[in-house]
């Protein structure tokens, strides 16, 4: 296990996280390019959790947002989870499936098109973030939804990078 976090993500916590960006995983990941990719994906994931966690009240329970990074053989896995309103599930599923259907070249073009097209929203854009994470990891994004009480589910996203 290289990294583990669970709970409400605050700006203050994020600021501490940024401070450690340069040196994080220096011992555990020798390749600087790989280290940067992992840090990048982790950063995007945590900021995503930060933006999307604000709207739920699940922070204090076992359904709090979480993020872990661990080694599995010759791969690195980054897993993130957060609570999501059920109404967002279909949209998110189709976004991820769409991204997964593309080759590396197609993803590059798709990223550029999405970059030009998107209106700025106050929360940044999950669409662009997912594309970038897929590009950087070089593997399809894996995901699952677990139903919770009320109109909510727990969404888990897993990214894989080869060492």
């Amino acid at each position: 296990m290289l990294f583990e976090f669970q709970g409400a993500i605050t700006r203050q916590w994020l600021n501490e996280f940024y401070g450690g960006l340069d040196n994080r995983f220096e011992k555990e990941i020798a390749d600087p390019r790989l280290r940067k990719k992992v840090n990048y994906i982790l950063l995007e994931s945590l900021q995503n959790l930060f933006h999307h966690s604000e709207t739920t009240t699940h922070d204090k329970t076992a359904q709090a947002p979480h993020c872990i990074v661990y080694k599995e053989g010759d791969r690195l896995r980054i897993v993130c989870g957060n609570v999501l309103p059920d109404s967002q599930i279909e949209n998110l599923k189709s976004k991820i499936n769409h991204i997964n259907s593309k080759s590396a070249e197609e993803l590059k073009t798709y990223y550029q098109e999405t970059l030009i097209k998107n209106e700025l929203s106050s929360k940044g854009c999950a669409g662009l973030g997912l594309i970038e994470m897929a590009r950087k990891s070089g593997h399809p994004l894996e995901y699952s939804f677990r139903k919770l009480d009320g109109p909510f589910s727990y969404f888990t996203l897993t990214m894989t990078i080869n060492k």
Binding site: Y18, L120, G124
Partner: protein, 127 residues
């Protein structure tokens, strides 16, 4: 016009823009949670500059990291420079600089080069 000078922090880049004829500079890390808030003064400065630009406008940008929310703001900056170029009042050049061995940053430059219509040069930073 006043010079725009923003010191860098752990999550926001150093930014310097002036009308002295020196290239505009953006360097460091751009990973704030809300990029629009951070870049607002930059957009404003560029809008003011565009009204009466110098004959030559150069931007040197060298980032270690930028998050997706910054990527859009950066595009907005490039688009504003594109508009300056289109107005015919200034020759615009953008230098996208990356550290040796940072291929990901080089590729990020290629993404912008493909969609920005001003001379966009991708070069290794001289240490």
């Amino acid at each position: 016009m006043n010079q725009l000078l923003i010191e860098g922090t752990a999550k926001t880049p150093f930014i310097k823009m002036s009308e002295t004829g020196e290239p505009f500079e953006i360097s460091g890390k751009s990973i704030p949670e809300n990029s629009v808030e951070f870049y607002q003064p930059v957009f404003q400065w560029l809008d003011d500059y565009a009204a009466a630009p110098k004959a030559r406008t150069e931007l040197k940008i060298q980032l270690e990291y930028f998050n997706t929310s910054s990527s859009k703001c950066l595009l907005d900056i490039f688009k504003k420079l594109e508009a300056v170029q289109k107005s015919g009042k200034s020759d615009v050049v953008i230098w996208w600089m990356y550290e040796e061995e940072d291929e990901d940053m080089m590729e990020a430059g290629e993404d912008y080069q493909a969609i920005v219509n001003v001379p966009f040069k991708i070069t290794k930073a001289v240490q």
